[in-house]
């Protein structure tokens, strides 16, 4: 495996930190590493070249050499330059007042247009007081219409389709229907091709001129290589899109496309798709992405998520109980539910500094957490409050109720006991012991990397 960009930058900067003074030579040496890392992250060659030139110029400038903490300043320069490459961006969708707003999606085949159409619809319904409608204007791909219809049913958004019509007619019909029912915006899912060709561009251009969409979004796969720039340039030349929706950012693609496309087309990434589930869709924040790339983690994003998911009162109450060491299994269950409301654990971890980049090395299993929850759910309120009363016959009942086995129930109880102990310590300021006390499913996130022995709950099949 190659190192991630973050690893490389971390290595580079920690090397710099170890030196009393930075020389021009050492900066250049380090930036060579950064250059390779960016190229391995599929950032476009020309963009890398410019980027390194700019950073070198600034880093070697006397402001840095004379500064109090040169390495920190270089981190900041690289951070700011990465951010500048991708921003600024305004992800709000302007809504038309005099009729349905039309949003047109375009992009290559396999970039994730159809899924993105549904994600965008859900995003709009949740964040704007609007009733979106989707148009299956991809009449070319086998089963594309079925796919959009299935997704539409899943999120309860109407889909306009017509298997006998051409794409333009479907788009017109959708707009007409939206106007009639006072719905909108209309999201157009258009046909992709494997690559840019005249026929597709002709179709899209015609659709643009006849349907006159308010916004055109290019849907692009985050894993695309140097070609990302070529196709984005061509789409922009022909259609002048307004922004980019970057998909599949939940893999280990290092977002090279995100860095390149704005630099080359001048059009910003506005949204990112993060997973298969339809609510895994976010507005794009260049500063947070820069943080992520540099290994600072997207702490702001995490805090926002946490705020959304945890009602203040609950949290305060929990904290109170924690401090008084009254924390019982019922509280623990609440906590699990809070964390789950924040989204898949994998995604939460991705927001954390120095873990995000190493996610792929961690093997954690969300179902373990669900099992823990199931076990607690199968307990009586009294058992949750006073786990010590759980004897072997209660254990068997709980195991049966939760579809687990008594050994697992036992393990959870043991770990809970340990956890309480640690919490008591923690309330006195001893944070280190925390990782040891996490229940199964949690331990793998904070535990040592695979290959080394894990402490605490052994994973069970």
């Amino acid at each position: 495996m190659f190192e991630t960009l973050t690893d490389t930058l971390e290595g580079f900067f920690s090397k710099m930190r170890g030196r009393p003074r930075l020389t021009e030579k050492s900066i250049k040496e380090g930036l060579r590493e950064v250059r390779l890392a960016l190229l391995e992250a599929d950032v476009h060659y020309r963009v890398v070249k410019d980027f390194i030139e700019r950073v070198t110029e600034k880093a070697i400038g006397e402001e840095v050499i004379k500064g109090v903490n040169p390495a920190q300043q270089i981190v900041k320069i690289v951070h700011d330059e990465i951010e500048a490459l991708m921003g600024p961006v305004d992800s709000r969708i302007p809504m038309r007042q005099d009729g349905p707003t039309v949003l047109m999606l375009c992009g290559l085949q396999g970039s994730g247009k159809t899924t993105t159409a549904a994600k965008l619809a859900l995003h709009i319904r949740r964040n704007y007081s609007a009733r979106p409608i989707m148009a299956a204007a991809d009449v070319r791909r086998p089963a594309a219409i079925d796919q959009l219809e299935t997704l539409g049913r899943e999120i309860n958004v109407p889909v306009v389709s017509d298997r006998g019509a051409d794409a333009l007619m479907v788009a017109m019909k959708a707009r007409f229907e939206a106007a009639e029912k006072e719905m909108g915006p209309v999201i157009l899912d258009t046909a992709g091709r494997l690559h840019i060709d005249d026929e597709m561009m002709g179709e899209l251009r015609e659709m643009k001129s006849r349907v006159n969409p308010d916004q055109i979004y290019l849907v692009a796969d985050a894993m695309t290589g140097q070609d990302a720039v070529n196709s984005a340039l061509e789409f922009n030349r022909q259609l002048e899109f307004d922004g980019i929706i970057l998909t599949k950012l939940d893999g280990d693609a290092r977002g090279g496309a995100a860095l390149s496309i704005k630099a080359v087309t001048g059009k910003p990434v506005k949204f990112v798709g993060l997973g298969e589930k339809l609510d895994r869709f976010e507005e794009f924040h260049p500063d947070r992405m820069a943080d992520r790339i540099l290994g600072m983690g997207d702490v702001v994003g995490l805090v926002e998520k946490a705020q959304e998911a945890i009602e203040d009162e609950d949290a305060r109450e929990l904290e109170e109980r924690l401090r008084k060491a009254k924390f019982d299994l019922e509280d623990f269950r609440k906590q699990i539910q809070m964390v789950k409301r924040m989204g898949p654990l994998r995604e939460i971890m991705g927001h954390l500094p120095f873990i995000g980049s190493k996610l792929d090395q961690l093997d954690f299993d969300e179902s373990q957490v669900n099992k823990v929850e199931a076990i607690i759910n199968s307990m009586t309120p009294r058992e949750r409050e006073r786990p010590e009363i759980i004897n072997s016959s209660r254990r068997v009942r709980i195991a049966e109720g939760s579809g687990t086995d008594p050994v697992m129930v036992n393990q959870l109880l043991k770990q809970f006991k340990q956890m309480k102990k640690v919490m008591r310590k923690m309330s006195r300021g001893n944070v280190e012991a925390f990782a040891d006390a996490l229940p199964p499913g949690f331990d793998q996130m904070a535990g040592p990397p695979p290959g080394t022995r894990r402490r605490g709950g052994k994973k069970r099949k």
Partner: protein, 326 residues
């Protein structure tokens, strides 16, 4: 429905000199057509670089480097090629810019030449091929093309619709199955491994020659989904000993260096036997395969060069590199 017709119409006027017009018929010609854009990208650039320069110097190397990067050849391979070029120049093996292209061509060909690109299917009994890859890489289409190859050679082909995740994936495979003349086993509500198992049973019971298993696209970083793949892999092996006989990963040629990461991680879970490099007919260059050797030993067995059912060709290193550099 004939992308190649379109291609040559569109491109001939642009191509003022070069081999596209005189593309020879048959396999090589088709490959050349499919790779026309790719070739122009690499060697058009290289040619212009080489014609501008009289001497071999750092400036020339840097421009060569740029052309290779733009073709998605990864940093490791690029640095290796450039280092070898430098060394060969120092040793006096390369005296002028004319020799640079030949030298580079040799290096790149060497990187691909010892790949075992054959499909290894059993002499007797049904052959089972499992196909995996990330979302949107072109799995289902590649499976259809692969099925079509077998059907055309007179084999009875069964497809297993084990992509029970993506909305309408089964319908898509069904449409393809009809189009190429293969049969299909499906069950929308079943577990993917159960579908594969049923398909393996039908293969034996109804005497199919080839079973091809479609799987849901998944990002290689999702461990639990990768475990689901392992299960499919295991389950067919239990029904038909030795199966799957080939486990192929479909890589999108437009993918950059991430393709290597995909190959490595899929390989860790289901022991891949080869690569199908899809979507090679665009402006994408698929140069990533040159860097693959540095990190994983996995041959490309097929390339997808168009949208028609017969646009899947066995990978051959010689013509592949020749077509890139011609």
């Amino acid at each position: 429905m004939c992308p190649f017709g379109l291609f040559s119409k569109k491109e001939k006027p642009e191509e003022d000199s070069g081999p596209l017009e005189e593309a020879s018929p048959g396999l090589l010609g088709k490959l050349r057509n499919g790779l026309a854009k790719t070739r122009r990208k690499v060697s058009g650039g290289l040619r212009s670089v080489l014609s501008l320069h009289r001497s071999i110097d750092e400036e020339l190397l840097e421009e060569l480097e740029e052309q290779l990067y733009l073709a998605d050849v990864g940093p490791r391979a690029v640095m290796r090629y450039c280092e070898e070029l430098r060394q060969a120049h120092r040793d006096g093996h390369i005296q002028n810019t004319d020799q640079v292209m030949d030298f580079l061509k040799d290096l790149m060909r060497d990187d691909l030449s010892d790949w075992d690109t054959e499909l290894h299917l059993p002499e007797e009994g049904p052959a089972v091929i499992m196909v995996a890859g990330v979302n949107g890489s072109g799995k289902t289409t590649s499976i259809a093309k692969l099925a079509s190859r077998f059907v055309r050679s007179g084999q009875r082909v069964l497809l297993a619709a084990s992509d029970t995740f993506r909305a309408a994936a089964i319908e898509q495979l069904e449409i393809w199955a009809q189009r190429v003349g293969a049969d299909i086993v499906k069950n929308e509500s079943a577990d993917p491994a159960a579908v594969a198992f049923d398909a393996a049973e039908s293969t034996l019971a109804r005497d199919y020659n080839v079973l091809i298993i479609d799987t849901a696209g998944r990002l290689h970083t999702r461990r639990n989904l990768m475990r689901e793949l392992q299960k499919i892999h295991r389950v067919v092996g239990r029904k038909i000993p030795g199966a799957p006989h080939e486990t192929l990963i479909v890589l999108d040629a437009t993918t950059g260096q991430n393709a290597i990461s995909q190959a490595i991680q899929f390989n860790e879970s289901i022991a891949l036997s080869g690569i199908v490099l899809a979507k090679l007919d665009g402006t994408a260059k698929g140069g990533v395969i040159f860097g693959m050797k540095d990190q994983i030993e996995l041959p490309v067995k097929f390339i997808g060069i168009g949208e028609g059912v017969d646009d899947l060709l066995p990978f051959e290193p010689e013509p592949f590199v020749e077509a890139l550099f011609d």
